[in-house]
Structure formats: structure tokens, C-alpha cells
């Protein structure tokens, strides 16, 4: 790999100043998106700022109707954490479906949502679970945070610190995994709250999105039958070497029904 400087700050303030030390900088969390990107020269940072030693970026806690997960928390930790399983078992199930055991041992919540890959799993969960994304500079509602393919509300050098998921009455995630990459060809996260239902879809379009027609149908009747045959317009969906838009639209319906049944 091309040479770069490496900084290992212990605080958010030191991380911010290491980031703005000159040249192109990048934060590194688990490195399971960034290092492959550096190897293939999609990214050529001059400085890597490692968030692993920064205080306050890990930990899982529940507070009122929110479950808070630190940005540096790995998928493996979320998959086995007792508080997550007690509060939002759907999130436990989702974490277990990310990548493979080695990816889950390194990959982090903050890394996924800062990167916002259109086939990543967490963005569907954040949208469905009405999440709040806290950063070193402020906070965002998930609905405002995700802004399409690899785009988020984060400013250059802004650090995700934690995510607060709203605890639902019930929720589940269903994913059609790409058999080789294990990313979502289509994934649907469904969450039922006292005041309505939220549905987040990933993999299908240029970025994760909510599915308002499914939310409305499920709010009056939370059953797979209520959304059977519900159309999703393929015009807004992705066609690539893995799957066409029509197929993705169909899969979204199947994953939606599976998630509703599992919730």
C-alpha cells in the first residue's frame, strides 16, 4: 500500500486536530471498508486517524425509550450483547447477518453508517428504528442523515460518536444476501411502535430508503397479508451485474413479508 501517516489519538478533540493536520486525512475504525479501498487506490489518504483509542466511542446502554450503541462497537459485540437482545432482538438478528465472523469481529456501527454503502444492513435498521445519530458536533435524525449512495449529513472530519435506536414493540430484519459478498441484494427492516410502523429498505436502491406505502398498510393491519403484492416502483431501483430492478422490487416484497412474519 501507498505510505501514510498514522495517528492514535485518545480523545475526540485530539482526533479532530489530527484529522486537520494537513493533507487528505481519513478516520479508521474497523478498517474493513477503508483498507480494501486503500489497497485498490479508491482512497489515497495521507493520514489515518485511528478511532480505536478514543474514549467514549464504545458501550451499549438503554435510557428510556432509546438503546444507545457507541460508534466503535463491533457487529460481533452487538450480536451477543444482552441489552440489545432484551431491548431490540431484531437488531441482534441483523448484526448476525453482517458479513462473516471475521468481518463482524472488526467492522463497526460508526464505520458502516459513515460509509453508507447502498447494500449495507445498518442503514435500513436506523431508518426503521427512528434512530438518532450523535456526532462530535451535533445530532441528526436518521431520516436526514442518509443522503443517497455513500452520502451522509456528516461534514468533513465530523465523527459519529453513538447511535440511539428507538425501542419498538416488535421488529425484525429480513435479508437476501449476495452469496459471495454477503452484502444485501435487498434487506428490509420492519419496526412496529405504539404510534405506527416504520419500514427501512436497503440494497434495492441507490441508498437506503423508507417505504411509506408499506408503513401505511402495516399500521392498520400488521400482517404479511396486508402487504401481499404491494408494488415498489422498479424505476427508482438499482440494476447491476447481481440483479435487475424488477427482481429487486419483487425481492423487496418477499423480504418485507418475511420481516413482518418474524417481528
Amino acid at each position: 500500500m501507498r505510505d501514510f501517516e498514522y495517528a492514535r489519538p485518545a480523545s475526540l478533540a485530539d482526533a479532530a486536530s489530527a484529522f486537520s493536520g494537513g493533507g487528505e486525512a481519513a478516520f479508521i475504525a474497523g478498517g474493513h471498508t477503508l483498507l480494501p479501498a486503500i489497497k485498490s487506490r479508491l482512497r489515497m489518504p495521507d493520514t489515518l486517524v485511528d478511532l480505536a483509542g478514543v474514549a467514549g466511542l464504545t458501550g451499549i446502554s438503554s435510557d428510556g425509550d432509546r438503546l444507545w450503541i457507541g460508534a466503535m462497537t463491533t457487529h460481533a459485540t452487538v450480536a451477543v450483547d444482552a441489552t440489545v437482545a432484551a431491548k431490540i432482538p431484531g437488531l441482534t438478528g441483523m448484526a448476525k447477518l453482517i458479513g462473516d465472523p471475521q468481518v463482524r469481529n472488526r467492522g463497526t456501527l460508526g464505520g458502516v453508517i459513515a460509509n453508507n454503502d447502498p447494500a449495507a444492513d445498518y442503514p435500513a435498521a436506523l431508518l426503521a428504528l427512528d434512530a438518532i445519530v450523535d456526532t462530535d458536533r451535533g445530532s441528526y435524525a436518521a431520516d436526514d442523515y442518509f443522503q443517497g449512495m455513500f452520502a451522509t449529513a456528516l461534514a468533513d472530519g465530523e465523527i459519529v460518536t453513538r447511535v440511539g435506536f428507538r425501542v419498538p414493540l416488535a421488529s425484525a430484519y429480513a435479508k437476501f444476501r449476495h452469496p459471495a459478498s454477503r452484502y444485501a441484494v435487498v434487506g428490509v427492516y420492519v419496526a412496529r411502535f405504539a404510534d405506527g410502523v416504520r419500514v427501512g429498505v436497503t440494497g434495492a436502491g441507490p441508498g437506503a430508503f423508507r417505504w411509506p406505502e408499506a408503513e401505511a398498510a402495516l399500521a392498520t393491519d400488521f400482517s404479511a397479508a396486508a402487504v401481499a403484492g404491494l408494488p415498489l416502483d422498479p424505476a427508482d431501483l438499482n440494476t447491476d451485474i447481481h440483479a435487475g430492478a424488477e427482481y429487486r422490487a419483487h425481492l423487496a416484497g418477499v423480504m418485507l413479508a418475511d420481516a413482518v412474519k418474524a417481528a
Binding site: 500500500m1 478498517g31 465472523p101 471475521q102 468481518v103 472488526r106 459471495a180
Partner: protein
């Protein structure tokens, strides 16, 4: 950058260039060539090592990122001439053909025992091998080997954290 490493029980501090991958440090600088590079794109698991007991693809982590941590490679498992129970099980159950994927499979297998215990079933093993590719065996004997190795680790009380040899 000064980096503190404990590799197969040997603690050392080394000057490491930040762009060095852990697998490059192991193979090119420390001559621990049992850790293989099958793809270099985070897919195959031939490069798996244990870092504080967790299996990690060493082609997708920088050497400087393991500062202060304990790394166990395939070379660190056997106790002299006595194979680790998981290695012995691969030999007994014909869990390898060309052997290229085997170091990563053995490491993944040891972590499967840490996660699921010695009585782990075949379906769980198959699921947890998603990050390991083998182009020879068709996986069936690998799964059998890991299951046999798990039972043997339960009986011998072998550590699932690695580090039997020089700890």
C-alpha cells in the same frame, strides 16, 4: 511507528511502517509464512489469525492497529511436536487437500469453539465458516474436523484463546 506486539507468546517492540498490513509483518518481516494470502480482498480467510482470541483477517488490519494485543498464528498452536487438538483433528478427519486454506480454517475453528463451546453442531460450524474459502475439499471434512477438534478441545481443556506453545 513503535508498536508493541505479542506474537505467539513472544513480546516485542518493533518499528513498523504504518502502511504495513499485519499479514505482511508476519510473513515478510517475521518469516511466519504459515499465515497465507489467498485473495488479499478480505474474502477467503486464509490469512486468519487470532487477536486477543478473536479471528481476524490479517490482510485487512494494519500491524500498527494491533499495538498492545496478543496475536496467535498457526505456528503458535502446537506444543513442540504435539499438535493442537484442532490441528490433529484436521489431520485425522482428512480436513485438507492442498492445505492452502488450512491455517485459516484451523484458526476459525478454534474461535468457533470459543464462541459455541465443544459440543457445537455441524450446521453452526458451516454457518460460521462463511468467511473461509476452500477450493479443494468441498468443506464436508473440514466441518467434520472442526467438530472432532471441538470435542477434543473440550476433553483436553485446550485453550480457545490460542497461545498454548510459548505462553
Amino acid at each position: 511507528m513503535q508498536t508493541r506486539l505479542t506474537i505467539n507468546g513472544n513480546a516485542q517492540t518493533r518499528e513498523v511502517a504504518p502502511a504495513t498490513l499485519l499479514v505482511e509483518l508476519l510473513r515478510d518481516e517475521l518469516a511466519l509464512t504459515g499465515t497465507h494470502i489467498g485473495c488479499d480482498t478480505s474474502q477467503c480467510g486464509a490469512c486468519n489469525v487470532l487477536i486477543d482470541g478473536q479471528s481476524v483477517k490479517s490482510c485487512t488490519i494494519l500491524a500498527v492497529q494491533v499495538d498492545g494485543k496478543a496475536i496467535t498464528t498457526i505456528e503458535g498452536l502446537a506444543d513442540g511436536d504435539t499438535l493442537h487438538p484442532m490441528q490433529a483433528a484436521f489431520k485425522e478427519a482428512h480436513g485438507l487437500q492442498c492445505g492452502f486454506c488450512t491455517p485459516g480454517m484451523v484458526i476459525a475453528g478454534i474461535e468457533i469453539v470459543r464462541r459455541h463451546g465443544p459440543d457445537v453442531d455441524a450446521a453452526t460450524i458451516a454457518h460460521d465458516l462463511e468467511g473461509n474459502l476452500c477450493r479443494c475439499t468441498g468443506y464436508m471434512n473440514i466441518i467434520k474436523a472442526i467438530q472432532a477438534g471441538a470435542r477434543a478441545m473440550g476433553q483436553t481443556g485446550a485453550s480457545a484463546m490460542g497461545e498454548t506453545a510459548h505462553a
